[in-house]
Symmetry: C2
Subunit: 285 residues, 2 copies
């Protein structure tokens, strides 16, 4: 199962998820100023350079689709090519799409992002609409080749607005964490973790330990490292004997070269940043 | 302000929102079997035929992006062309995208769907991540030309899973409805309604009256009519002296011709279905 492969990679290489949240101003000058390239090529060639210099270090990549939608059809073509390239290198890719809609619409999202032009290995989904907004993804999970990460406690400051409301004696996010554990029972792999995981921000380590108590088979996608303020020390409380999650860093890695190296050799800085992230996490384990 | 225009159209023409949730098997044979057309052209030509035969009857159109994402890059091109065509006819279009993400990502979604290739007039958004996932859309609302519909109580059966949890003495969806009213205060137009509206399913008329008590300036996008089970009678409790919302019907209108008329004249059935929907709503007012 794909979740077992992700678990294995996280424990072999470190729980490193590289976020390809590619803004145009992250693209180094040697590509950005090349007049022979279309916009989709500039974005893809930048992503490809990052993938080529990190694919042996990363447990997986995460692509935030919003950054590609923001560039219109050209961005969508770059998104398609980036997904396809990561999968051709036999790396795992998470499409960070946070979709959530009624059954007949979720069927279309599942088809869109688990097959065809935009096929990814894992998707992020939003649970606000309940189980029938999640079920249409299950036929793909049945193959063993696909997985989900469902939002639980997000990394942003306003996640408190609704996620922390106390509903029937516990915060909303714990209700959701518990449901995810239930939904995921059917999809537990040899690693002991389910192909239905949770998204929990590194910015909330205490909430994390509450979630862990009700979600023993849940694997985590953990945003909030680096630019959002999370550091390796915060992970010590989450990870103990094993890495039962992956930690996403985006801007801290893919924008590190800006203003320092705008040539093809920018990838040396990228690779160094990934190694530093791994060391920062390892020192606390 | 755009919300005033939508209010005016809803009251002049009836609160009719036509949902372009275009599945490939809705496309009539005369287009589907035409070998000279690319997939994006088949989808767009079908949508265009529907728009051309209904643009004087509809208060607005809603495009569910999932159906286009499911067709890959070709679908996205059809999505772009459909949005652009509706706006060129001076009709209002709601992009039903239900996005929701942290501030820096929501900025990208706002740019993506309020400008450029995928520019729409209104967007649907998901409130689970709190106010900082909504704020990035506000600079566009400041222009008076854009609006939002935020999910409150969705039309699907599982909306009860989390939306009805009792949090601090009232259901979660009422907390959200109240916040939307607060967020929207700054954007109230001459009509008395705000450019930040709510999505509430017609399938939940009782919950609707609870929401109305805390949300006096909120305009509604109401899915659930037709194929999902809602009928005109249900609307009598929601609308009284005026249409302070729009009612979406998709499959009931755009798939009505299937198996009956597969030629260019299918639009006669489409138009008839819209007129019937209007009569069904009017008889209860």
């Amino acid at each position: 199962m794909i979740i077992d492969r992700l678990y294995q990679l996280a424990n072999e290489r470190g729980p490193i998820c590289i976020g390809l949240d590619t803004k145009l101003d992250f693209i180094p000058d040697y590509l950005a100023k090349n007049k022979t390239l279309d916009l989709n090529e500039k974005i893809f060639k930048f992503n490809k350079a990052i993938i080529d210099c990190t694919y042996d270090l990363a447990a997986c990549y995460k692509i935030q689709i919003a950054f590609y939608e923001a560039q219109g059809v050209q961005g969508i073509i770059a998104y398609q090519n980036t997904l396809s390239y990561i999968r051709s290198k036999e790396n795992i890719v998470i499409a960070d799409i946070k979709r959530g809609d009624i059954f007949s619409t979720a069927e279309q999202y599942a088809k869109a992002h688990f097959s065809g032009d935009f096929e990814a290995d894992f998707l992020t989904v939003n649970p606000y609409m309940g189980i029938d907004a999640i079920q249409p993804y299950f036929p793909y999970l049945d193959t063993g080749q696909k997985g989900l990460f469902v939002l639980v406690k997000t990394s942003n400051p306003s996640s408190k607005d609704f996620q922390e409301l106390i509903c029937e004696n516990k915060p909303l996010y714990l209700h959701i964490a518990k449901k995810i554990e239930e939904w995921g029972e059917k999809y537990i792999g040899k690693s002991g973790y389910s192909a239905i995981g949770s998204v929990i921000g590194l910015t909330y380590p205490e909430e994390f330990s509450e979630v862990k108590k009700v979600a023993r088979h849940t694997f985590y996608l953990i945003p909030g490292y680096g630019a959002q303020g999370g550091i390796g020390k915060d992970l010590a409380k989450i990870f103990k004997k094993e890495f039962n999650g992956i930690v996403n860093s985006s801007r801290g890695i893919i924008a590190a070269h800006k203003g320092i190296d705008e040539t093809e050799s920018f990838v040396n800085i990228t690779r160094k940043k990934v190694i530093e992230m791994k060391q920062d996490i390892d020192q606390w384990q």
